[in-house]
């Protein structure tokens, strides 16, 4: 994985609470056996009409979405299924961070494993950011993961919480599977002292 670097971007507002993973990417696109091509399917049923034509009133179809890297969404973003296709679709579209007041647990984990930063802010800052993009759609916010802060256009720093291990992994570009593979000895020792409750290859 590439190290996660500081960046600045416009915000793409999606003021809806509880945006679930079925909206982020509908289940019919989960028949794929690869990770490719999911960016086109991001928010498909909100983005395209029944004939598959882009809806001009949906924000991802507007010129301002092109090149934007931060999504600003309502409460409890990413609730629903465990599909990692959701962060794959978001990152393939170009997003590198989502800002909300809260994230669903599995989505947050999946996002962090794909260098998509789930940024939790207070209700006040959340409302302020929506007001900011309303006033100035081109306004840019900086994401500084090393400093664990958002930097607003007026220069204010807004700190956000993040699991310290995930932060380290993102900043250093650490591959978590590779990291756990280094713990083989401890895993083998655990297995030796804990007999398996079931063996799926044998009936008891």
């Amino acid at each position: 994985m590439k190290p996660f670097e500081r960046f600045s971007s416009r915000l793409i507002p999606l003021p809806v609470d509880n945006i679930d993973t079925d909206q982020i990417i509908p289940a019919r696109f989960l028949k794929t056996v690869s990770k490719e091509g999911l960016g086109e399917q991001l928010f498909y049923d909100w983005r395209y009409d029944a004939e598959g034509q882009p809806r001009p009133d949906f924000i991802l179809n507007q010129p301002r979405a092109k090149g934007a890297q931060i999504l600003l969404a309502g409460d409890n973003f990413g609730c629903g299924s465990s599909r990692e296709h959701a962060p794959w679709a978001l990152t393939q579209f170009g997003f590198r961070a989502v800002i909300s007041t809260s994230f669903a647990d599995i989505f947050r984990q999946n996002a962090l494993k794909n260098a998509l930063l789930p940024i939790v802010v207070s209700r006040e800052i959340h409302a302020e950011l929506f007001a900011l993009v309303e006033r100035d759609p081109q306004a840019e916010v900086t994401v500084d993961l090393a400093g664990q802060a958002l930097i607003l256009p007026d220069g204010r720093r807004v700190e956000f919480p993040i699991d310290p291990f995930a932060r380290q992994c993102l900043l250093a570009g650490v591959d978590e599977v590779g990291w756990v593979l280094q713990q083989q000895e401890a895993i083998a020792a655990y297995e030796a002292s804990h007999p398996a409750p079931v063996n799926t290859l044998l009936e008891g």
């Binding site: 609470d17 289940a27 028949k31 609730c79 990692e84 647990d105 799926t200």
Partner: protein, 466 residues
């Protein structure tokens, strides 16, 4: 120090605590299915790794399989490819696979318990958010993404932060016509879909103790709809009776030893939780959802809420958006609202107990001519047992379709879908926009409410049919 069952199971599976990192947690059982595993196997192959413990891994095909016979070959080439790739991966890596054609095929969260693979005190994961179902037997079970599936295939471990503990105490006794599904829908309506974020639930109280194993699975299953990755019920005699004699359950002396271990699992007296939520079973009515989030639920006799009563602008906008999608008017009751489809099935309500409850109402009656009713057993075993009791005949005679096992219209991947604009009373777990088919409108409810609504051709109160 007194500990909750959640802490006991977590502690017993910590392989190593490494400063600055989440705990390295050992996984006793890894369940996989066709949809969230292909990219994980790709990753494994790219790294040149084997599956560390195929003997702790089991696969089935459920999300994407046809429910009409003959099921093989699968007509949709994209679905066929995904299922055949699962079979090929399992063969290559030595993982047992109960795919189409197996007498044990079924929804992953139905077959784990019924085969006795799910046992108290275990850690269980699956690339599916409804893995909490297995918590009904006193296991710590949760859904994971595909990167984590790859991690578990490679190492049999996960990096897991210690969860916060939350006790959901359901006191009192459920009244006739009110079931496990209503308990969990009422909880979600009360605390919201984000209410349990970061938590593992332990369900306690007299109303939970009185539930059968299958009903406890219904409750645990939808923990994720309240934001909790896992939910569990401490094991008791109901659990042990359910497990005894199942294919993978311990036998003989091993059974006695297991019982000793399992009896030590329940939460110690004096243990504290980070949070407690109380629910009064006596006050519960049959529940139904009206919107596009599982938290948008009401007692079946109540009116659809007014968006004007929302706590802030964003919540009001979300409610208005949901009611627009559902084409429902605020302030009006749902009772009597015409419906088009009834879906009975899923990992939430596709077990024998669920089918029996619905069949009890449908026996000797005909569903409304406007309604199409799909009955999809959760597994081959559920199907066999239901047929042995003649439930399939009751459903057919009532005018419903009796199908083959799979996730079916809960997720609509296999072609079992709603048409745009249709209303469906569904025993599944999610009413998200388009979940059951693009433009489809889902009303989540219990098997009893679903059966009553099928008879009425409209949203109906099951208590009128008991």
């Amino acid at each position: 120090m007194p500990r909750t069952i959640i802490e006991k199971i977590f502690d017993a599976h910590v392989v190593k605590e490494i400063p600055g990192a989440p705990a390295l947690l050992y996984i006793d059982l890894h369940l996989i299915h066709e949809v969230t595993s292909p990219q994980a196997f790709d990753g494994l192959r790219r790294r040149g790794l084997r599956v560390r413990r195929p003997d702790r891994t089991l696969a089935t095909a459920d999300h994407n399989v046809p429910t009409l016979a003959p099921r093989v070959p699968i007509a949709d080439p994209v679905s066929a490819r995904q299922v055949s790739q699962l079979e090929a991966h399992c063969q290559q890596f030595g993982i047992p696979c109960y795919s189409l054609g197996s007498e044990r095929q079924g929804i992953v969260h139905v077959i784990g318990p019924e085969l006795g693979l799910t046992q108290p005190g275990m850690t269980i994961v699956c690339g599916d958010s409804h893995t909490a179902t297995h918590g009904a037997l006193g296991a710590l079970a949760f859904g994971i993404g595909t990167s984590e599936v790859e991690m578990v295939l490679a190492t049999q471990c996960l990096l897991q932060a210690r969860p916060r503990t939350c006790r959901i105490n359901v006191g009192g006794r459920l009244r006739p016509g009110v079931s496990a599904k209503d308990v969990i829908l009422a909880l979600i309506a009360k605390i919201g879909t984000g209410g349990g974020t970061g938590c593992v639930f332990e369900y306690t109280g007299s109303a939970i103790r009185a539930l059968s194993m299958e009903e406890r699975m219904t409750v645990c299953n939808m923990s994720i709809e309240a934001g909790a990755r896992a939910g569990l019920v401490a094991p008791d005699d109901t659990t042990f009776q359910y497990l005894a004699g199942r294919p993978f359950a311990p036998k003989g002396r091993a059974w006695d030893e297991a019982l000793d271990r399992w009896r030590r699992l329940p939460t110690d007296e004096g243990a504290t939780y980070d949070r407690t939520v109380e629910l009064d079973a006596d006050a519960l009515e049959p529940m139904i959802t009206f919107g596009t989030s599982p938290e948008m639920g009401i007692p079946i006799t109540a009116a659809v809420p007014e968006p004007a009563a929302a706590r802030d602008a964003l919540e009001r906008a979300s409610l208005e958006k949901a009611l627009r999608y559902m084409a429902l008017e605020p302030g009006k009751p749902l009772l009597g609202h015409p419906i088009d489809v009834v879906f009975l099935g899923s990992c939430t309500n596709g077990r024998l107990v669920d089918l029996r409850q619905a069949a009890r109402l449908l026996k000797g009656r005909r569903i409304h001519p406007r309604v199409r009713m799909l009955v999809v057993p959760g597994s081959m075993q559920v199907k066999r047992e239901a047929e042995a009791e003649g439930l399939d005949e009751i459903f057919r005679a009532a005018g419903a379709e009796w199908r083959q096992p799979g996730c079916s219209m809960c997720i609509g991947m296999n072609g079992d879908q709603l048409e745009p604009g249709q209303y469906c009373v569904s025993t599944s777990n999610r009413n998200f926009e388009g979940r059951q088919g693009k433009g489809g409108r889902t009303l989540l409810a219990s098997p009893l409410t679903a059966a009553a609504s099928a008879l009425a051709g409209a949203v109906a109160d099951p208590r009128m049919y008991l």
